[in-house]
């Protein structure tokens, strides 16, 4: 039983102790709750450094009726009521307690403000408001407030305590937590003098705040003697000559939303206050420029180029004295014009005048056009620099050479049009002007950016001889527009400017995108050109030419492709493969090769001028890359069609037909005898060799004139003097052997119909122009030859010879 009593007492004691601890915790929390009168919760604060003013913070809050903004300068935190007035206005009423710097904890990762409320004349930290990113182990609050001076009149002493929590202490000038600091103090009023033995900022005297018989401390002034008794009357308040500029800032950022490089609005903001540090509202602010002195500013120096909306800077918070507004860049441009666009740097003084003030203690006071601030701005200019140029495929966009990174040198000797889709060359040019803007104190404003820019294709370095093609960009600052025009050159009528656009980055770089259409460009006449850019700014300063790079606007963006073939290329191999090829059909692949599939060697008669548009050429021949330039083909081959005919006549069974292709027999050699033949219908016979001759036993010409010839893909071979694939032929199935070929009819000069040959094509003579077929989509080959071994196997008994080896044994 005694044992139970002991347990009961122990439990009761523990519960009692827990209750006490809980009550203590609750009372601690309650004690830290703000007891001030602030009614708006501060939501965000941002702090910046200013050389004159130190850190200052802007804190804003919100209410249901509108947005409030409180601007606090000098690193102080003011305690007062921030309420939202009518029409989304904010009204801040300061209480009698002002907490000075030292209450702002500037953490390394930003600005954190401990918010303070007022409790009588003491400031109390408000918990649960604002952000506090300090770690829990380091929550320095710095020095606390000075205690009330021990003497209510004259000299006394006061102390303060370093308030810390956690395991570190910052903001107390090296003092440890909870340590105290003492100093002399002085309380002065109309009836007593201050006799602080040593000057100290906190014991200095100054003009009293209007209507209050207490001394206010501030920085910047010291007691000049042992006594600084001040008589304060309300009539000293709100004088116009008290107005001073607390801050005037000139910016040109508009959330980096820049429409044109030179179209940079001038943002002006500031704050007017009196010399006691009390802010005064200004309803209008007028700016004069380049007055001989502030006292001589008159209407003649008014920045007359401003219109009403821009010259009158509406204050957005009259009670706080804050004003801001934008001055249009066009008005700035007028200033540039006034001083002349000589490309130099020019400094200007801007004089700020308050049109009207409404001091809170003297609502009847007005300060019409009263000077209160001055700001120096410098208009700067230097030449445009750092131009860059990229050459691109349009759709999908793919820039294959150029740019600031790789430089124009990457375009050297490239067959430019081979990289494009449908002959549309996209040019992406960037023009920069390195003028600086802004600085902290003196606003350096860009006087001028890119006014004109040129993209020039020239076969030499002399634009004056007319052998060039030039594109001109011209800005029009008056209506926020620009023009892209052809600016002469011998190929101006052969190149069309299609779409174009511009944008300006926040780094003030002008970016132009221009699509050039080379569809009309003559393929037989390659344009070897240098390419470079230059630009001129609004001040007339011109950049030097960029590096000139010789490149090729190739004559042959229309190209052919083979599959499973070996190739004997007579003459030269000049076939500009597309950079991002698309397959002709399912027999083709996406490979950027001359021959896809199982390729044999490519033997080329000539050497030195061969190209596939890319180097090294063998990398684009086939997967196996077998290549021989300068191969010696016999001009008089030992065996071709005539020799075959002679052989066949003596050794093989031949069906002779006279002008009647209906008599063609399958599985044998047929010799057609008549005049030149056009085949407009398929020959639906398997395994035929058709030789075309006239009655004099000379070879004649064959013309294939059917959209898909030999649609059933019978194994057929056609031997003639020349073979023409008419303009309507898109596919011809068979083995075609002739001394010469025409890949289209004589007219027109070029057609857009592609041609596929499924079988083989063997020409004794070189087909010089392989670009007569120019399909619209140049990512696909215009001619596609598929080597078909099955047809050779089917025709083995006919399209063949026997070899003999004869030996006399006895």
């Amino acid at each position: 039983m005694r044992h139970y009593k002991f347990i009961y007492l122990t439990i009761t004691t523990i519960i009692f102790i827990l209750i006490l601890l809980f009550k203590h915790a609750v009372s601690t929390v309650i004690a830290s709750v703000c007891e001030g009168t602030a009614t708006c919760s501060w939501q965000t604060c941002s702090c910046r450094w200013n050389a004159l003013q130190g850190y200052y913070c802007d804190c804003s809050t919100h209410s249901a009726s509108g947005s409030c903004r409180f601007v606090n300068y000098y690193g102080s935190i003011m305690c007062g009521a921030l309420i939202c007035g009518a029409n989304s206005s904010c009204i801040f009423t300061a209480n009698s307690c002002t907490v000075w710097s030292g209450r702002v904890d500037l953490a390394t990762n930003g600005c954190n403000i401990y918010h303070w409320g007022c409790s009588g004349t003491s400031c109390v930290k408000l918990s649960g408001h604002g952000s506090d990113t300090c770690s829990s182990s380091c929550r320095s609050q710095g020095w606390g407030s000075w205690s009330t001076c021990s003497n209510s009149c004259g000299n006394g002493s006061q102390s303060r305590t370093c308030n810390c929590s956690g395991d570190c202490c910052t903001g107390c000038d090296g003092y440890s937590c909870n340590s105290t600091q003492s100093q002399q103090c002085c309380v002065c009023n109309n009836s007593c003098n201050c006799n602080a033995s040593k000057p100290d900022y906190r014991t200095q005297c100054q003009s009293p705040y209007c209507g209050q018989n207490v001394c206010h401390t501030t920085s910047g002034e010291r007691c000049s003697g042992s006594s600084c008794a001040i008589s304060c009357t309300k009539t000293d308040c709100g004088k116009c000559d008290d107005l001073r500029s607390a801050r005037i800032e000139i910016e040109n950022t508009n959330n980096n939303n820049i429409s044109k490089t030179h179209d940079l609005p001038l943002f002006v903001s500031g704050h007017a206050r009196d010399r006691n540090g009390i802010t005064h509202g200004v309803e209008d602010v007028h700016i004069y420029v380049d007055c001989p002195s502030e006292s001589t500013c008159n209407q003649s120096h008014f920045w007359t180029s401003f219109n009403v909306n821009s010259i009158t800077i509406k204050p957005n918070d009259p009670n706080a004295g804050y004003f801001s507004g934008a001055i249009k860049a066009s008005n700035m441009a007028n200033l540039y014009n006034r001083i002349g666009r000589d490309g130099g740097n020019h400094s200007h003084a801007l004089y700020f005048f308050a049109v009207q003030t409404q001091p809170p203690e003297n609502l009847n006071a007005t300060c019409g056009n009263w000077y209160f601030g001055k700001k120096e701005i410098t208009l700067t200019n230097s030449s445009p620099q750092n131009q860059s140029l990229s050459l691109c495929q349009q759709n999908p966009e793919f820039c294959f050479c150029g740019s600031a990174v790789t430089g124009l040198s990457s375009c050297l000797n490239l067959p430019i049009l081979s990289y494009t889709n449908n002959n549309i060359l996209r040019i992406k040019a960037a023009f920069s002007d390195p003028d600086s803007f802004p600085s902290e104190e003196i606003g350096f404003i860009r006087e001028s950016d890119i006014d004109e820019a040129y993209i020039i294709f020239d076969d030499d370095n002399n634009e004056n001889n007319g052998y060039f093609y030039r594109i001109k960009y011209k800005d029009n600052p008056n209506n926020n527009s620009y023009t892209i025009t052809e600016d002469g050159g011998r190929i101006a009528n052969l190149v069309d400017i299609n779409n174009h656009s511009r944008n300006v980055t926040h780094a003030y770089t002008l970016n132009l995108t221009i699509d050039l259409d080379f569809s009309k460009y003559p393929r037989e006449n390659p344009f070897h050109s240098n390419i470079y850019v230059r630009a001129r700014d609004f001040a007339g300063k011109e950049s030097p030419k960029s590096l000139m790079i010789s490149t090729t606007f190739t004559a042959a963006p229309y190209w052919y492709k083979l599959r499973n073939a070996s190739l004997n290329k007579k003459g030269e191999l000049r076939n500009y493969i597309n950079n991002l090829p698309s397959p002709y059909d399912t027999d083709d692949t996406y490979e950027k090769l001359l021959i896809v599939g199982e390729a044999g060697p490519v033997l080329v008669q000539n050497s030195g001028q061969n190209t596939l548009g890319f180097t090294p050429i063998e990398n684009y021949l086939s997967q196996k890359r077998f290549f021989k330039e300068g191969y010696n083909f016999s001009n008089q081959p030992r065996f071709f069609i005539p020799q075959y005919i002679a052989y066949a006549k003596s050794r093989k069974l031949i069906n002779y037909i006279q002008n009647d292709i209906s008599k063609i027999k399958p599985n044998m050699i047929n010799i057609y005898q008549g005049s030149n033949l056009t085949l407009s219908q398929d020959i639906n016979q398997q395994n035929i060799v058709l030789i075309l001759m006239n009655n004099e036993n000379n070879l004649i010409d064959l013309r294939i004139d059917k959209n898909v010839f030999n649609q059933s893909r019978f194994s057929q071979a056609f031997l003639a003097r020349s073979i023409t694939f008419s303009n309507s032929v898109t596919e011809a199935n068979g083995i075609f052997l002739a001394f010469s070929f025409n890949l289209k009819d004589l007219d027109p000069q070029y057609i857009t119909t592609p041609l596929k040959i499924n079988g083989n094509l063997v020409s004794m003579e070189e087909i010089v122009d392989t670009t007569v077929r120019r399909r619209i989509d140049i990512t696909k080959p215009s001619i596609f030859i598929v080597f078909n071994p099955k047809m050779y196997l089917d025709l083995l008994p006919y399209l063949s010879v026997y070899k003999y080896d004869w030996r006399q044994l006895q």
């Binding site: 199982e598 060697p601 077998f626 021989k628 080597f787 063949s800 010879v801």
Partner: protein, 263 residues
């Protein structure tokens, strides 16, 4: 004997001697001429017999080619019984059907090609399988080869052989070779492949000769399919002159001039 008689006899003897000498000379000339005539006659006769025999041989070959049969046949059985001066009973034709592990092509000129059969012709339904090596360079200049296999599904496999580095081959895909000389099939070859080529399901192996002429020797691990017809024709004239000729006629050859894409 008087002196006049002596002189008279002396003169008669001289005349006789001269007559004898003249007769001997004339006889020599006559006999020589006669011999030459006989010899020439005999030679002409032999040549005639030779030509007759060769013509008969060719006729036998021609008949054999037309018959498209295999085996041994007399001229008579081939319908060649009426050949004048030919002992048709002693003349015959042998059409060989013997496969071999070796095969040597005729001399292929530059840019010519040879169609080597790796399946039965013309049906292409029985494929040869095994390892194959290729010998080449029988002439002074160095050739390169393009090898094209046509597989049973009509797909292709292409290679090159280029011992003298005449073809740009950045991927070094050419087939390796070792240099000889190699005596093969009755010819001396300068190169052969370093490694055999494995062959299966292949219809044709087409060898194109580039840069220089050469024969091509094929060596297989087992007998190749027939590459054509080998005909041995023997003809004997009634005079006893006999001729024997071997003719090889290949299966159809696709001319390289018709086979390689060219323009």
């Amino acid at each position: 004997m008087t002196g006049d008689s002596y002189n008279s006899n002396m003169k008669k003897g001289q005349v006789l001697l001269i007559v004898v000498m003249l007769l001997a000379t004339a006889l020599t000339v006559a006999l020589t001429s006669t011999y030459q005539s006989v010899t020439e006659t005999q030679l002409t006769k032999l040549e005639e017999e030779n030509q007759k025999a060769l013509a008969a041989v060719e006729a036998g070959i021609e008949k054999a080619l037309q018959s498209k049969r295999q085996g041994n046949f007399t001229f008579t059985s081939l319908g060649l019984s009426n050949l004048s001066g030919i002992d048709t009973s002693q003349s015959s034709v042998e059409i060989s059907n013997q496969g071999s592990t070796t095969f040597v092509t005729p001399l292929l000129q530059k840019d010519e090609q040879y169609t080597f059969y790796l399946a039965n012709y013309p049906n292409f339904n029985s494929y040869w399988g095994g390892q194959i090596n290729i010998y080449f360079k029988t002439e002074s200049a160095c050739p390169s080869l393009e090898l094209t296999q046509i597989k049973n599904d009509n797909s292709l496999v292409r290679n090159i052989v280029d011992p003298c580095g005449q073809i740009t081959d950045p991927n070094d895909l050419r087939l390796g070779t070792t240099s000889g000389p190699y005596s093969f099939g009755g010819f001396n070859f300068g190169y052969k492949l370093s490694n055999n080529i494995s062959i299966s399901n292949t219809k044709l192996l087409i060898v194109r000769v580039l840069f220089a002429p050469t024969r091509i020797g094929f060596q297989g691990t087992n007998n190749f399919p027939l590459q054509g017809s080998t005909i041995i024709s023997t003809a004997k004239t009634q005079a006893g002159v006999e001729k024997k000729v071997q003719l090889f006629q290949s299966y159809p050859q696709i001319p390289a001039e018709f086979f390689v894409t060219s323009f």
